[in-house]
C-alpha cells in the first residue's frame, strides 16, 4: 500500500442473507483528497461506509484504514484508529440527552481524560465556532436545532479529535441550497485548514462538481469508476450517463462552469 492511500479496499464482499450488496469492491482514498461516493438507492453506499468504520462485518475482502486492517481487528486497534477519524452520520446522531457543547466534549473526554474541564469547554467552543454555528448553540439540545444546524453540530463533534479522516454521510441532504452551499464551503475550508481527507456519500450534484476531487461510482455491486466528474461524464455506462447527463446533472455542470469562468 502506497503511503498516499489513507483507505485501501480490496475485494470487499457484503451480503445480508442471500442478498449480496457488494461483490469485489476495490477503492483507494488518497491522503488529502475529497472523495465523493455516488450510487443509486439500495446500492449499499451506507453499507460501504459502515464497513470502513467497522460497524458492519463484511463477508470477505480487506479494508485498510491508515495502514490497519479493519476486518477482524481487535478492540485496541479499533480504538487507536478511530481516534484518527470523525464521522458525521446522516441524521447527525447527536446524543439527545447532552447539549451541543457536551456532545463535542464526549470524544475528547473519552480519549484525553487528563484534560481539564475548562480547557475542554474552550475546545468545544472553538469547534462550534469553526462550523459557523452561533455561540448560544452550545447550551442547546439536538431537539432545539434546525436540520442545517444539526449537520453543523454533528460536524463539530466529528472534528473534536482533530481527525485526519472525515466520513460524511450525505452532509447536504435535506438542506436548502443556501445551507448546502455553506456546508460545501465549510468542508473545503476545513480541508484547507486541517489537511483533512474527506470521504463523503452524497447525492448532491453541486457538491460533486464543486468540492469533490474525485468521485467513485457504486453500481452493479462494484465500484465502477473513480475519477474526476469531468472524466466520469465521458464514460459510456448507462447509469453513469443518466446520473450526470440528466437535466439535474447538466444544470449542476453548467452552474459549475459559470462559477469557474466567473471566478
Amino acid at each position: 500500500m502506497s503511503d498516499s492511500d489513507i483507505i485501501q479496499i480490496r475485494g470487499l464482499k457484503n451480503s445480508f442473507g442471500s442478498q449480496v450488496v457488494h461483490d469485489g469492491v476495490d477503492l483507494d482514498v488518497k491522503r488529502g483528497e475529497i472523495l465523493g461516493l455516488v450510487g443509486g438507492s439500495g446500492t449499499g453506499k451506507s453499507v460501504l461506509l459502515r464497513s470502513i468504520i467497522g460497524l458492519q462485518q463484511p463477508v470477505a475482502g480487506s479494508i485498510k484504514v491508515l495502514g490497519h486492517e479493519m476486518i477482524g481487528k481487535d478492540p485496541l486497534t479499533m480504538r487507536m484508529v478511530s481516534r484518527h477519524w470523525g464521522v458525521l452520520f446522516q441524521e447527525s446522531a447527536l446524543f439527545s440527552t447532552l447539549n451541543i457543547t457536551e456532545n463535542v466534549k464526549v470524544p475528547l473526554r473519552e480519549y484525553y481524560p487528563e484534560l481539564g474541564d475548562s480547557l475542554l469547554d474552550q475546545i468545544a467552543g472553538y469547534k462550534i465556532a469553526m462550523t459557523d454555528l452561533p455561540e448560544d448553540v452550545g447550551i442547546k439540545f439536538n431537539s432545539e436545532l434546525s436540520g442545517g444546524m444539526r449537520k453543523r453540530a454533528g460536524l463539530a463533534r466529528a472534528l473534536a479529535l482533530d481527525p485526519d479522516l472525515l466520513f460524511l454521510d450525505e452532509p447536504t441532504s435535506g438542506l436548502d441550497p443556501v445551507s448546502a452551499d455553506a456546508i460545501d464551503a465549510l468542508i473545503l475550508g476545513l480541508r484547507k485548514m486541517l489537511g483533512l481527507t474527506v470521504f463523503m456519500i452524497t447525492h448532491d450534484l453541486d457538491s460533486l462538481y464543486n468540492i469533490c476531487d474525485r468521485v467513485a461510482v457504486l453500481a452493479d455491486k462494484k465500484v465502477l469508476a473513480v475519477d474526476t466528474v469531468e472524466n466520469l461524464t465521458k464514460l459510456d455506462h448507462p447509469w453513469i450517463k443518466r446520473y450526470f447527463n440528466g437535466p439535474r446533472g447538466r444544470a449542476a455542470a453548467e452552474s459549475f462552469e459559470a462559477r469557474k469562468t466567473g471566478a
Binding site: 439527545s96 457543547t101 475528547l108 480519549y111 484525553y112 487528563e114 484534560l115 481539564g116 480547557l119 469547554d121 474552550q122 475546545i123 467552543g125 472553538y126 469547534k127 465556532a129 469553526m130 455561540e135 448560544d136 448553540v137 452550545g138 447550551i139 431537539s143 479529535l161 482533530d162 485548514m193 486541517l194
Partner: protein, 366 residues
C-alpha cells in the same frame, strides 16, 4: 508513536520554546503548567513542526492572556494559528442556577397543570370517540370488521398463554398463603372460598387488565404514536379517512369484547391453579374442591367480574390510543408516551376497581 510525535518545552526567563508536535495527546503537559507560564512574554515556535487546532488554541490563548509575542512560525504552523484566532469568541453563558426549592415548586406546578391538561385531553378524546361511535351506528357499513377481528386476535388470542400462566400462578399463591394463615384455626378448607371468591370478584379480571394494559395499551400507544410521527395520521385526514374510526374504534371495540373473555378465562385458570395446590398440598381432592366452589360462590360474584371487565378494556384502549395521539416530535416522545399509556391505564383500572368494590358491596352483591 514515532519519535517525531514527541513534544517538549523549555522555559528560559520570559521565553517559552516549544519543540516537536503540539497535539491533543501532549496538551496536558502544557495546560497543567499554565499558572507557572504566566510570566512568559515570548513564545518561540521555531522548533515546533506540527500543531493541531487544540495546540494552536492553547498557544493562541497563552499569547493573548500574557500579551506575549509569538515568533519563529513556519508556514504550516502559522496558518493554523492564524485560522484559530478567527474562532475565538466568548463561550455561551451557562444557564442560570435555580434554587432547589424553586425548582421543586416549579416542577410540582408544571405537573399539576399537565395532569389537568391530560384529564381534559382524555375527556375530549372520549367525546370524539363517542361521536365516531354514533357515526358508525348511523352508517354501520363504515365499521371496519377486519381491523376489529385483527385487533381481537392481538389483544385476546395472542395473550392467552401469558394470561393463563400468570393466573394459574396467582391462584396457587392465594391458595398457599390462605392455607398457611387458615391452618392456625384449623380452617384450611376455607382456602377454597378464598381462591374462588377472590378470583371471580377481583383478581381474575384485575390481573388480566394489568396484563392487557402492559401488552396492548402500550402497543396501541406505540402503533398510533409511530404513525403520528411518520405523518400517517395526517395523510389519513387529508384523504378523508377518520383516524378515530379506522384506528381507535377497532382497538376500543376489540378491547371491550376481549377483556370479559380473557378475564373469565383468567378466573378459571386461577381457580384451577388454586385447586391444584389444594389437591397436592392440602390433600383436598378436585371433586370436593369443585363441589365446595359451587356452594360458596354466588352468581353475583361472576357478574361482578364480568361487569367490570369491558369497562377496564375501554379504559385501557382509551388511555393507550390517547397517548398515541399525543406523540409529537421525536422517537424519545414515543417512548415517553408509551410508558405514560401503561401507567395511566393501570392507575385508572385500579382506581375504578376500588370504586366497584365499594359499589357492589353497597348494592348488596357481597
Amino acid at each position: 508513536m514515532t519519535g517525531s510525535d514527541d513534544f517538549s518545552f523549555e522555559i528560559n526567563g520570559d521565553q517559552l520554546a516549544l519543540q516537536g508536535a503540539l497535539t491533543l495527546a501532549h496538551l496536558d503537559s502544557l495546560s497543567n503548567r499554565l499558572q507557572t507560564l504566566s510570566t512568559v512574554k515570548v513564545i518561540d515556535l521555531s522548533n515546533l513542526h506540527r500543531m493541531d487546532t487544540a495546540g494552536a488554541w492553547l498557544v493562541h490563548k497563552l499569547a493573548q492572556n500574557n500579551n506575549a509575542e509569538v515568533k519563529g512560525t513556519n508556514s504550516a504552523v502559522a496558518h493554523i494559528l492564524d485560522q484559530i484566532s478567527h474562532y475565538d469568541r466568548p463561550l455561551a453563558p451557562e444557564p442560570k442556577h435555580v434554587s432547589p426549592l424553586i425548582y421543586t415548586l416549579t416542577g410540582v406546578g408544571k405537573n399539576t397543570v399537565h395532569v389537568w391538561y391530560t384529564i381534559v385531553g382524555l375527556v375530549n378524546f372520549f367525546g370524539a370517540l363517542l361521536v365516531s361511535i354514533w357515526h358508525t351506528i348511523c352508517h354501520p357499513s363504515r365499521l371496519r370488521l377486519t381491523a376489529i377481528i385483527c385487533q381481537m386476535e392481538t389483544v385476546g388470542v395472542n395473550a392467552l398463554a401469558i394470561v393463563g400462566l400468570m393466573s394459574i400462578l396467582v391462584g396457587v399463591v392465594i391458595a398457599q398463603q390462605g392455607a398457611v394463615q387458615l391452618r392456625q384455626f384449623g380452617a384450611e378448607i376455607y382456602s377454597i372460598n378464598l381462591v374462588g371468591r377472590l378470583s371471580f370478584r377481583e383478581l381474575g379480571v384485575l390481573m388480566t387488565a394489568i396484563m392487557v394494559a402492559g401488552r396492548s395499551g402500550s402497543a396501541f400507544a406505540a402503533q398510533i404514536g409511530s404513525m403520528n410521527l411518520a405523518e400517517e395520521i395526517d395523510a389519513m385526514r387529508i384523504i378523508g379517512v377518520s383516524p378515530m374510526e379506522s384506528l381507535v374504534l377497532p382497538r376500543f371495540l376489540a378491547s371491550i369484547i376481549m377483556m370479559p373473555l380473557l378475564g373469565f378465562y383468567a378466573t378459571i385458570a386461577a381457580v384451577i391453579g388454586g385447586g391444584l395446590l389444594c389437591w397436592t398440598v392440602l390433600d383436598i381432592p378436585p371433586t370436593t374442591f369443585f363441589t365446595r366452589l359451587r356452594e360458596v360462590i354466588p352468581y353475583t360474584d361472576v357478574a361482578v367480574g364480568l361487569v367490570k371487565a369491558p369497562i377496564f378494556g375501554a379504559l385501557i384502549a382509551i388511555a393507550g390510543c390517547f397517548q398515541g395521539t399525543q406523540v409529537k416530535g421525536n422517537a424519545e416522545q414515543l417512548g415517553y408516551c408509551t410508558t405514560k399509556a401503561v401507567v395511566h391505564s393501570i392507575f385508572l383500572v385500579i382506581v375504578l376497581d376500588a370504586f366497584f368494590a365499594v359499589f357492589f358491596s353497597e348494592i348488596g352483591w357481597v
